[in-house]
């Protein structure tokens, strides 16, 4: 009876419905957006359930608690309720049970949403039942008991804070214990992990371990944990109900009684008023801000934020990667929170303040008094926006204070300009969100609807919901700009130009929303809008202006990047395969030479490219039709194909079929030219490996330049996407099966010779593969000509760089390091390159070219990257960083050795066989790391590297579900790099380097260019051949067997 009564009450509360609906919506986005496990449907499903519980259950409890447990005091019903004959114990218990059951209902609803979003339901119902029983119900009981304890002692506001803290605290703990839901999570302490296996209040740590195939080890921990917490929650809940009944008689409301009465002797004196002016607004603003700051919760939030910023910046500003640190700068300190944590928590805080500001009068039942004052709605709205902006400014100020203290702690030099830009730019984005929140609070009378509106904004901003709905677009993310954290290489060059075009549009949008809110304002009262008879047609003006600006922005986005979202990219790929699939096996000439003329204009962020392709027919039959195109990420190039007619053109695919008037005979060569320009997009940040900026320009040819023939790389590989687009199934056969026989069909090398004529500004140097054969200066322009002396893998790349270079020569190879020569790390990189060159020359094959360039690059998402004859090393990782006190090896040296090794493993062998995996590239480069580090720094340093990779592998493996593929089939980076290091360390120990080297030499002998390309199984066969019989099983186990759970 009592329970039914409580349920009836609960179901009448909009917040309860919101608490049921929003998590379900979150579950929906989670289940469509989270790709965790490929081959373990039940494990994946349970992981989603865990994510849902971790992310939402404490927050739902925070939302429900005031509605159910604080309602009497909040709505001054306590005296009436207290006067009823139901005992306090029974009343509390019933509320507690209803809160717990609502939490379970919410969890169950969300879990069902996840369930029905899975591709197959097989086995999932029982998994859902078990999870609900063992994890959702105990978690609900635990949170409920906690809510009851909080409600006995603390105010509703503090309860929000406490649950928020609990939520964040648990996520933090989870991130320290290698929870696979949280990106970047690793086990920071084995002791903590062991404790959490037994004492995780939600039992998730042990459950994840069990899911990862350790169910027998963890079953006792799981049972004990679940029993302990369920029993504690149940007993604690009942005890608290009893405790409340005994201890908490109704709180007497402390009222001030007065025996004074109205003074009949006093005379009322009226004073004149005037329309509120600027000084009034200023006073009101001050009052409202003081009011917000008079609330302890806001003070705690602001100070807590400052401490959080300090902690984050102090702990991560100097960190580069494991065993590697740098002298932190302001940019590093700001990057640690200002571009991710600040937007997220800032939005949450703004939502909280907007609600406090916008609903203050309504919540205090003071709205009618306020609404009867003559202050205009427009001023009320803008005043609230100004107040929120002030709170935001305070938040930013405290961020700066927290960062400043962190920098003081790290003894780094403070750059106020960096503070101004990072906090100012992110602050403006937050301001837009704040203005939208205020507009919602004033436009919508219902506080539940306004809260829903704010939730939708947060959902749009922080979840991929629009992508799931098939409408991905950057403009769905309110207040977003592509501004990226500054790095010390080139500051904000990567994205600065894109900031204002977006921000202008968002500020206009926010102002328009506030203008509309002024017209629709209910004056903070929740009362119906009172409109004067004056017409409001003028509102169409800002609305139209806003639509116009956003439409213009959209057009420019599309113009700059035609395939601007994943839907368009997928559609292009599907369309490409459907339209041109028949060209997959069509005979086509190969590109044998490229003459490139490229003029860089760094200041204009533009490059003009003119390419002349030389084609050769390597087949035994004549070729009549050729397919030339360009990736649809770009606009079509201007093509000139002599003695050919256009047979068919696919403008939407950027592809054209040419019919040669005279078929190309076997061995014959022809030429065609392509011209196009590269203009750095204004609205897109620098990403990938094509950019032209005043600081540095880099154009990798793939996928920039026109292609010849069918491009398998354009095909959709995801099975679900292929099915969605009606494409046949795509079965990827692992290399261990595909190349199980030595005589399996092989691919072919696509190597070319290259001549590059590059011009750039006088203060820069242009660079490409090949030997510098000519250098001319004409006025303000320098022209460089590079020519390869023999074919290279067909990945030309062209650079324009500041003329800062350190040159050296080693055994006939010119080594150039393009970075400020004052950098202390230059000799180390030179050493790494020469050591690697020497090792290969002595053990395998000498370097094919006469020059090797190492270029410091900004933060573009890569720590190191190798192209033929070129190595790119992240400036921060390679030149600012240095080993920390615990480092057993130097990451800078290791990385350069690795990238240098790619000149052999990757750009010599390991290409030409697209169906092979990365074993011959990444895994063998890890082998080279081991031997070269051992040679330079000794066995201890090599062992430190092995230990480090072993630890990385263990952590990643712990979070991996299902068996691991064989080493030669590995597709995950933790296998290709970390496991490979451990495997090669073992092979070295058991077989010795000579056996491995013999295998590699055989590989070179039979498969280096221009022989048929090698695959991973070739290496396995050679090493088996050279190893003794006693090692065959070990080789098979390490390289060919799947690693079971």
């Amino acid at each position: 009876m009592l329970l039914a009564n409580e349920w009836r009450f609960a179901l009448r509360q909009p917040l309860i419905w919101l608490g049921l609906l929003l998590p379900a919506l979150f579950a929906f986005t989670l289940s469509v957006g989270m790709q965790v496990v490929e081959d373990d449907a039940i494990g994946h499903f349970q992981l989603l359930l865990i994510a849902q519980q971790m992310m939402s259950l404490p927050l739902i409890c925070a939302g429900f608690t005031p509605v159910l447990l604080y309602r009497d005091s909040q709505w001054q019903m306590d005296e009436i309720i207290h006067a009823t004959p139901t005992s306090l114990f029974r009343r509390n218990l019933s509320r507690l049970l209803v809160l717990a059951s609502l939490l379970v209902t919410s969890a169950l609803l969300s879990n069902l949403v996840i369930l029905f979003n899975q591709p197959s339901l097989s086995g999932l119902f029982s998994a859902l039942f078990t999870y609900t029983l063992f994890y959702s119900v105990p978690a609900a009981l635990l949170l409920t008991t906690l809510a009851q304890a909080v409600s006995l002692r603390l105010s509703a506001g503090v309860s929000y804070l406490l649950f928020g803290g609990l939520w964040m605290g648990y996520l933090y703990l989870a991130s320290l214990t290698g929870n696979p839901i949280l990106a970047g999570s690793t086990i920071s302490s084995e002791l903590l992990y062991a404790c959490m296996l037994w004492l995780d209040p939600f039992g998730i740590t042990a459950h994840i371990k069990a899911l990862n195939g350790h169910s027998t080890d963890t079953s006792l921990a799981i049972w004990m944990n679940r029993l302990l917490f369920t029993a504690s929650a149940a007993v604690g809940g009942v005890w608290l109900c009893q405790f409340a009944a005994v201890k908490r008689a109704i709180k007497s409301r402390r009222e001030r009684e007065s025996t004074d009465v109205l003074q009949s002797s006093k005379v009322y004196k009226a004073v004149s008023t005037q329309p509120p002016g600027f000084s009034h607004l200023l006073t009101l603003w001050g009052q409202t801000v003081r009011h917000l700051l008079s609330q302890r919760i806001n003070i705690v939030l602001l100070l807590g934020w400052s401490v959080l910023v300090f902690n984050t910046a102090a702990s991560s500003a100097a960190y580069v990667e494991p065993f590697s640190i740098h002298a932190a700068s302001s940019n590093d300190a700001l990057r640690s929170y200002a571009f991710d944590m600040l937007p997220l928590l800032g939005c949450v805080l703004l939502a909280w303040w907007a609600w406090q500001i916008g609903r203050r009068a309504q919540r205090a039942h003071f709205a009618e008094v306020l609404a009867a004052t003559p202050l205009r709605s427009i001023w009320l709205v803008w005043l609230d926006a100004l107040t929120l902006a002030t709170m935001l400014a305070l938040l930013l100020l405290l961020s700066a204070v927290g960062t400043g203290f962190a920098e003081l702690f790290l003894q780094s030099s403070v750059s106020l300009q960096s503070y101004g830009v990072a906090l100012g730019a992110n602050g403006l984005s937050l301001l837009v969100i704040g203005m939208l929140f205020i507009a919602l609070q004033h436009s919508l009378r219902s506080s539940a609807l306004a809260a829903g509106g704010m939730a939708i904004i947060l959902l749009l901003k922080f979840t991929p919901i629009m992508a799931w709905l098939g409408m991905p677009h950057t403009l769905w993310n309110p207040g977003w700009t592509p501004l990226q954290p500054a790095d010390d290489f080139w500051g904000y060059t990567a994205s600065a130009q894109a900031f204002w075009p977006y921000m202008r549009a968002w500020l206009l949008f926010a102002c328009t929303a506030l203008i509309f809110a002024s017209a629709l304002s209910h004056r903070g009262s929740g009362l119906p809008v009172v409109r004067s008879t004056q017409k409001t047609y003028w509102l169409a003006l800002p609305a139209l202006l806003c639509v116009g600006v956003f439409w213009q922005l959209h057009l420019q986005l599309t113009e700059e990047r035609p395939l601007y979202n994943s839907v368009k990219r997928e559609a292009f790929k599907a369309n490409y395969e459907k339209s041109l699939g028949q060209w997959r096996d069509a005979l086509q000439p190969v590109i044998s030479h490229i003459d490139a003329r490229i003029d860089f204009y760094p200041e204009a962020q533009n490059a003009e490219l003119a390419l002349r392709y030389t084609l050769t027919n390597p087949h035994s039959k004549p070729i009549r039709d050729i397919l030339i195109g360009r990736a649809a990420f770009y606009h079509a190039a201007e093509l000139a194909v002599p003695d050919a007619d256009i047979l068919h053109s696919y403008p939407e695919l950027n592809q054209t079929i040419y019919r040669l008037r005279v078929p190309m005979q076997p061995g014959e060569t022809r030429q065609f030219s392509a011209a196009f320009s590269y203009q750095q997009p204004e609205l897109w940040p620098v990403s990938g490996q094509q950019f032209v900026t005043p600081a540095m320009s880099y154009l990798r040819s793939v996928p920039l330049i026109p292609t010849l023939g069918y491009q398998t790389t354009y095909e959709l590989t995801d099975e679900h996407l292929r099915a969605d687009h009606g494409l046949p199934l795509y079965k990827k056969v692992p290399p261990s099966m595909l190349f199980a026989n030595a005589d399996a069909p092989r691919g072919s090398y696509d190597w070319i010779t290259l001549t590059s004529t590059l011009s750039t500004n006088r203060d820069q140097v242009a660079l490409s593969q090949g030997k510098l054969t000519d250098h001319q200066q004409q006025g303000e322009r320098h022209t460089y000509t590079y020519q390869t002396r023999s074919p290279i893998r067909a990945i030309p790349a062209w650079f324009s760089l500041p003329a800062l270079v350190t040159r050296s020569e080693h055994n006939g190879v010119n080594l150039n390091v393009f970075v400020d020569p004052a950098s202390a790390a230059v000799p180390l990189h030179m050493q790494a390159m020469t050591d690697t060159l020497d090792w290969f020359a002595q053990n395998l094959a000498p370097y094919r070219a006469s020059q090797l360039n190492l270029i410091a690059m900004p933060e573009i998402g890569l720590s190191g990257y190798a192209l033929p004859q070129l190595i790119l090393i992240n400036h921060d990782h390679g030149f600012r960083a240095h080993p920390n006190a615990k480092a057993g090896f130097d990451q800078r040296y290791r990385r350069t050795v690795h990238e240098t090794a790619h000149q052999w493993f990757g750009h010599d062998i390991g290409n030409g066989e697209p169906q092979d995996s990365a074993f011959l590239i990444e895994s063998l480069a890890k082998y080279v790391e081991l031997v070269v580090i051992e040679q330079r720094y000794g066995q201890q340093a090599m062992q430190a590297l092995v230990d480090y990779e072993q630890q990385r592998f263990d952590q990643a493996h712990r979070n991996h579900f299902g068996p691991l593929p064989a080493m030669v089939d590995a597709s995950k980076s933790f296998q290709q790099y970390s496991q490979a290091t451990v495997v090669f360390a073992r092979l070295r120990k058991e077989l010795g380097d000579e056996v491995i080297l013999n295998a590699l030499r055989a590989l070179w002998q039979h498969h280096s260019y221009p022989n048929p390309p090698a695959n991973a199984m070739d290496f396995v066969r050679y090493i088996q051949e050279f190893a003794g019989e006693e090692h065959q099983k070990l080789i098979e186990r390490l390289l060919l067997e799947r690693t079971e759970e």
Binding site: R254, E255, R256, E257, S258, D260, V261, L262, Q263, S264, K266, V267, Y268, K269, A270, V271, S272, T273, Q274, P275, P276, G277, S279, H280, T283, L284, Q287, H291, S294, Q295, R360, A361, A364, H365, F366, E368, V369, L370, A371, A372, T373, P374, L375, R376, S525, L527, P528, V529, V530, R531, S532, T533, Q534
Partner: protein
């Protein structure tokens, strides 16, 4: 001073809260009488611009209120029937807050707030949080805020609610003193207060004005027609029972009749309450002791 023309308001649930109200209120105190749900609060909130009528016009002095609601708000003092207060704000701070909203300059604020605190005898409690005030003190705060500035139209919905008899008396004195040159629209269930304070009275029932006139005019038709009885006669023909009260535990009836309804009937002086009950009876409303 305040003219309402053909004012209509229907709520979403179908209740016709105002039915074609047309009236002109002169300056001074105007009492609004009516049973619960008669539409008094709706009328006052509509005049105060807190909600919009479906149709009709409101003219205050030379202001078209519906066209320029802001102009009316410049001259309005409003005390709603129920109101809360902001948490964590002292009495003076909250008055200051509203004074700013009303457009008082800083010196004017300082002067008038002190004066109003003294007038409502809240000076001693000026630094205390209003949220901790008792009902009477909070009501006095409400009156003080309504009087901030120089309101020409003061609307008070049940201003004496929560006040003890002495406070009520003093408030009445205050209201009389401030109603010079102003229109003070007063709604209360205490008919005595209206009879003693207001020159004009409007009686509302089911969204309509049953009567609007000065108090004398309303009472005049009842002169020498109101009788007091200890018990009602068996025959109630031509008698309208206006009220049944108790005195020392014995019932006392007041009836309206052209002639003495029985030998024991004593003629009594007609009051506004008699006129109010008679009006309700004639409108088909509640009948006190029928």
């Amino acid at each position: 001073m305040l003219t309402l023309k053909h004012l209509n308001k229907r709520y979403a649930d179908g209740t016709q809260a105002l039915k074609n109200i047309s009236v002109t209120f002169p300056s001074g105190m105007v009492g609004l009488l009516g049973p619960n749900g008669a539409g008094k609060s709706t009328l006052m909130r509509t005049i105060a611009g807190l909600q919009q009528p479906d149709s009709g016009n409101i003219q205050f002095a030379d202001i078209d209120v519906l066209a320029k609601p802001q102009a009316l708000l410049q001259q309005l003092g409003y005390l709603p029937q129920h109101f809360g207060v902001y948490p964590n704000m002292s009495c003076r701070a909250l008055l200051e807050h509203i004074a700013v909203l009303k457009g008082l300059t800083k010196p004017a604020r300082r002067e008038q707030i002190e004066s109003l605190l003294a007038l409502t005898n809240l000076t001693k409690h000026a630094k205390k949080r209003v949220s901790t005030f008792s009902g009477g003190m909070r009501q006095r705060f409400g009156i003080a805020q309504a009087l901030l500035g120089d309101p020409k139209l003061i609307i008070m919905d049940e201003p004496t609610a929560g006040l003890d008899p002495l406070e009520r008396e003093n408030l009445n004195n205050l209201l009389v003193s401030i109603s010079q040159q102003r229109l003070l629209l007063l709604s209360t269930h205490i008919v005595e207060d209206i009879e003693s304070l207001c020159q004009h009275v409007a009686i509302m029932h089911q969204g309509e004005f049953q009567q609007f006139a000065d108090v004398g005019t309303l009472i005049a038709p009842l002169t020498q027609r109101v009788w007091q009885l200890d018990a009602l006669p068996d025959e109630l023909q031509d008698i309208i029972v206006l009220s049944k009260t108790f005195r020392h535990g014995h019932s006392v009836f007041r009836v309206f009749s052209e002639h003495a309804p029985c030998a024991q009937a004593q003629p009594v002086v007609a009051t506004l309450q008699d006129a109010y009950f008679l009006s309700l009876h004639q409108a088909g409303g509640q009948h006190v002791a029928g």
